[in-house]
C-alpha cells in the first residue's frame, strides 16, 4: 500500500511495568477475598479431613491421633451397616431426585405462560424452599405423627393403611417419610432453575414451529426439551451429589432408624462423628463417599461429552 511504511520497523513497545502489573492483578484482587476464604475454610480442612481418614482421631480420647494407615478402610470393608447405608443412599437419592425433578418440571411448565395471578402463585409454590431444612423435617415428622398429624388418619381413611400408625416407625415404609419431606422441600429448586431456563427460550421459536405445523407435543419435544437439556443435565448432576450429602432431614426425622432402615451414608458419617466421636472412622467413610461422588460426576461428564461428540 502506498499509504504505509512511514513508521517501518517501529518496535512493538510494551506498556510500562506498573501499568502491566496493575492490569494483570485486577482480576486477582477482585477474587482474592472469596478465594482466600474458600481455601482456608474449605480446602485446608478438606485436606486435613482426608488425613484424618488415615489416623485414629477420637475426640474424647487424648491418646488418639496416631497414624493407623488403612485400618479404617479395612474396618469399613467389613462394616455391614456401611453397605446398608450405601444401598439406602441410592434409594434415597434416586427417589428424591427423580420425583423432585418430575414434579419440578411440571410446575415450571405450568408457570411458564403468563396467567392471572401468576406472581402470587409462583411465590406461594416456591415458599417451601425458604423453610429451613431442619424445620421442614420436624414439620413433616409431626405431620406423620398420628398424635398431632392428619396424614396417618387420612391414609387410614383412604384404606391405604390398615391402622393410623406413624410410617416413620415402620421399617418397611420409614424411608418414604424423609423422601416425601425432601420432595416437598426440593421441588421449588428444580422448578426455579427450569423456569429460568424455560423463559430464556426465544418465543419466536415456538411461533416458527407452530407456523411449520408442530402441535403442542411436538413443540415440547423438538424445542423445549432440547433447550432444557443442558440445564436438566447440570441440575440433576449437582442435585444428585447434593442430596446424597444431605442428611438434615433424616437426622431430624428418623435419626437413621428404625433399625437403620433410613440410615444413609451421610447420616452414618454424622452418627460416627457426633454420637461415637470417632472422627477418624467418620472421615474414612466421608472419603469413600467423596470418591464415589467424584466418580459419578466424572462418569456423567464423560457420558455427556460422548453424547455431544456423537452428533
Amino acid at each position: 500500500m502506498a499509504y504505509a511504511a512511514r513508521h517501518e520497523g517501529l518496535p512493538a513497545i510494551r506498556p510500562p511495568l506498573m501499568k502491566r502489573i496493575a492490569d494483570a492483578s485486577a482480576p486477582y484482587l477482585y477474587t482474592a477475598p472469596a478465594l482466600i476464604l474458600i481455601v482456608t475454610v474449605m480446602l485446608v480442612p478438606l485436606v486435613l479431613g482426608i488425613s484424618y481418614a488415615f489416623r485414629d482421631i477420637q475426640l474424647l480420647n487424648p491418646f488418639s491421633g496416631g497414624f493407623v494407615g488403612l485400618d479404617h478402610f479395612r474396618a469399613l470393608a467389613q462394616d455391614q451397616a456401611f453397605f446398608r447405608s450405601l444401598r439406602n443412599t441410592l434409594w434415597w437419592t434416586g427417589a428424591s431426585v427423580f420425583l423432585q425433578f418430575a414434579f419440578g418440571l411440571i410446575l415450571a411448565l405450568l408457570l411458564d405462560k403468563p396467567f392471572h395471578g401468576r406472581a402470587v402463585a409462583q411465590a406461594l409454590v416456591f415458599l417451601p424452599w425458604a423453610v429451613p431444612s431442619f424445620l421442614a423435617g420436624l414439620n413433616w415428622a409431626w405431620l406423620f405423627n398420628p398424635v398431632v398429624g392428619p396424614l396417618p388418619h387420612w391414609l387410614f381413611a383412604m384404606g391405604i393403611m390398615s391402622q393410623p400408625t406413624n410410617i416413620l416407625s415402620d421399617p418397611q415404609l420409614a424411608m418414604w417419610g424423609p423422601i416425601v419431606a425432601n420432595i416437598w422441600w426440593g421441588i421449588p429448586f428444580f422448578a426455579i432453575t427450569l423456569l429460568a431456563a424455560l423463559q430464556a427460550i426465544p418465543r419466536d421459536l415456538y411461533e416458527a414451529a407452530s407456523i411449520d405445523g408442530a402441535g403442542p407435543l411436538q413443540r415440547f419435544l423438538s424445542i423445549t426439551l432440547p433447550f432444557l437439556a443442558p440445564t436438566i443435565a447440570i441440575t440433576i448432576l449437582l442435585r444428585t451429589v447434593w442430596i446424597s450429602n444431605f442428611a438434615d432431614l433424616i437426622i431430624v426425622m428418623t435419626n437413621g432408624g428404625p433399625a437403620d432402615r433410613t440410615q444413609i451414608v451421610a447420616s452414618y458419617i454424622f452418627t460416627q462423628a457426633f454420637k461415637r466421636l470417632d472422627f477418624g472412622y467418620a472421615s474414612a467413610i466421608a472419603l469413600v463417599l467423596l470418591a464415589l461422588l467424584l466418580a459419578y460426576s466424572l462418569l456423567i461428564v464423560i457420558l455427556r461429552q460422548w453424547l455431544l461428540s456423537k452428533d
Binding site: A2, Y3, A4, A5, R6, H7, E8, L10, D23
Partner: protein
C-alpha cells in the same frame, strides 16, 4: 480538539491477528469515516483509539501525546456506541452530565452545558426521563449529547445510526454533519452505510481483513479506487468487473474471455497482460452503434423508483447497468451497450489499479 496519529498499529487476539500495520494520520477537526466488510477490524481500531482494547504493537498519539498506555478516562475522547449504552438508572440529564460529574465540574457549569447540549439536540423536554421511556431516535440523541457536553479531543462513532429506521437515519445524518460544522471536532466514524460515508466524510478509510486499502476523499475512492476491493466495495450497486486480456497493436483492445472485445484509449499496460476491467453500472451507456458497441442480453429489470437496474449478460459474464430512462422498464431480448473508455478502470493480476 486534536489530531490523531496512528502509526503501524497491530492487534492480535491471542495468536489471531486482527489488524496489520494500520497507519493513519487524522488532522485536527477532520471527519474520517471507516468502512469495510463485517469483521475487518473497524470496531477494534476505534476501541484501541478509545483505550478499550490494548495495543499489540505500534503507537497511537492524540494531540501529539503517546496514549498507548493511557486509561480511557485519561484520553479525553468521547464515543457514541451502536447500542447507545445509556445508563438505564439515570435520567437523560444525569446521563449527559455523568462525565462532568466525574470530573468534579461545578454544578452551575454542568447545568449550563447540559442545557446547551439539550437545546442543540432538541432534548429539553426529555431531561428528566429515563432512557427506557425514550424512542430510538431520542436515545440516539442522548448518546450524542453525552458526547458533546464536554469538549473532548475527539469523537468516535461506532455505527451510531444503524439501529434507526431509514428516515430517522437521514435526519440524524444531517444533524451529525451540522454538529461537526458547529463544533469542528476531530471525528472518526464507523459505518456500513455508503451514503453516510460519502456524505459525512472529509476522508474515507477503506479497510479489509485488518489492512487499510485506501485513504482518500469520498470522490477519490469513488472515481479512482486503488484496488479491486475498494472498487467493489464503494458504490451501490457495485462496480462491474470483466476478466480478460489487453491487446496492444494498431487498435488497442480489451479482449474478454468469451471473445468480445472493447477498443481502448492507451492504458499503461504491457501486451497480452491479464487484467480486470471495471465499470460502474451508471457509466454503462445503453445505446449506440459502431465497432465499440456490444450486444447484451437482458436477464432482469429491477425498478427502484429512483431509476432502473438492468441485469445484463455478455457472453458468460453478467453485469449491471443503471439508468433513469423509464423506457427500459420493458426492455427484453438483446440491447446495445457501450463502455465509454474514460469510465473504465483497470486492475492488474494482483488487483492493483493500473
Amino acid at each position: 480538539m486534536a489530531s490523531i496519529d496512528i502509526a503501524n498499529i497491530k492487534k492480535s487476539y491471542g495468536t489471531h491477528p486482527v489488524l496489520h500495520d494500520v497507519d493513519l494520520k487524522i488532522s485536527d477537526g477532520e471527519f474520517v469515516v471507516l468502512v469495510g466488510p463485517s469483521g475487518c477490524g473497524k470496531s477494534t481500531l476505534l476501541r484501541m483509539i478509545a483505550g478499550l482494547e490494548s495495543v499489540t504493537g505500534g503507537e497511537i498519539r492524540i494531540a501529539g501525546r503517546r496514549v498507548n498506555d493511557l486509561a480511557p478516562k485519561d484520553r479525553d475522547i468521547a464515543m457514541v456506541f451502536q447500542s447507545y449504552a445509556l445508563y438505564p438508572h439515570m435520567s437523560v440529564a444525569k446521563n449527559m452530565s455523568y462525565s462532568l460529574r466525574l470530573r468534579k465540574t461545578a454544578k452551575d457549569r454542568i447545568a449550563t452545558v447540559v442545557a446547551g447540549a439539550a437545546a442543540k439536540l432538541g432534548l429539553d423536554p426529555l431531561l428528566e426521563r429515563r432512557p427506557r421511556a425514550l424512542s430510538g431516535g431520542q436515545r440516539q440523541r442522548v448518546a450524542m449529547g453525552r458526547a458533546i457536553v464536554r469538549q473532548p479531543k475527539a469523537f468516535l462513532f461506532d455505527e451510531p445510526l444503524s439501529n434507526l429506521d431509514a428516515r430517522l437515519r437521514e435526519q440524524m445524518r444531517a444533524e451529525i454533519k451540522k454538529l461537526h460544522k458547529d463544533l469542528g471536532a476531530t471525528s472518526i466514524y464507523v459505518t456500513h452505510d455508503q451514503i453516510e460515508a460519502m456524505t459525512l466524510a472529509d476522508r474515507i478509510v477503506a479497510m479489509n481483513g485488518g489492512v487499510v486499502q485506501q485513504v482518500g476523499s469520498p470522490l477519490d475512492l469513488y472515481d479512482r479506487p486503488a484496488n479491486l476491493f475498494v472498487a467493489g466495495f464503494i458504490g451501490s450497486p457495485g462496480m462491474n468487473f470483466f476478466e480478460g486480456n489487453y491487446q496492444a497493436g494498431e487498435v488497442q483492445r480489451f479482449e474478454m474471455e468469451d471473445g468480445n472485445s472493447i477498443p481502448l484509449d492507451a492504458p499503461p499496460l504491457s501486451n497480452n497482460a491479464r487484467v480486470t476491467l471495471g465499470i460502474r453500472p451508471e457509466h454503462v451507456v445503453l445505446a449506440g452503434h459502431g465497432p465499440e458497441t456490444l450486444l447484451a442480453t437482458v436477464d432482469l429489470v429491477e425498478p427502484t423508483g429512483f431509476g432502473i437496474i438492468l441485469h445484463l449478460s455478455l457472453g458468460g459474464a453478467s453485469f449491471k447497468a443503471f439508468t433513469n430512462d423509464r423506457s427500459f422498464l420493458t426492455a427484453s431480448g438483446t440491447i446495445p451497450v457501450r463502455f465509454p473508455a474514460h469510465y473504465l478502470h483497470f486492475f492488474d493480476a494482483e488487483g492493483r489499479r493500473v
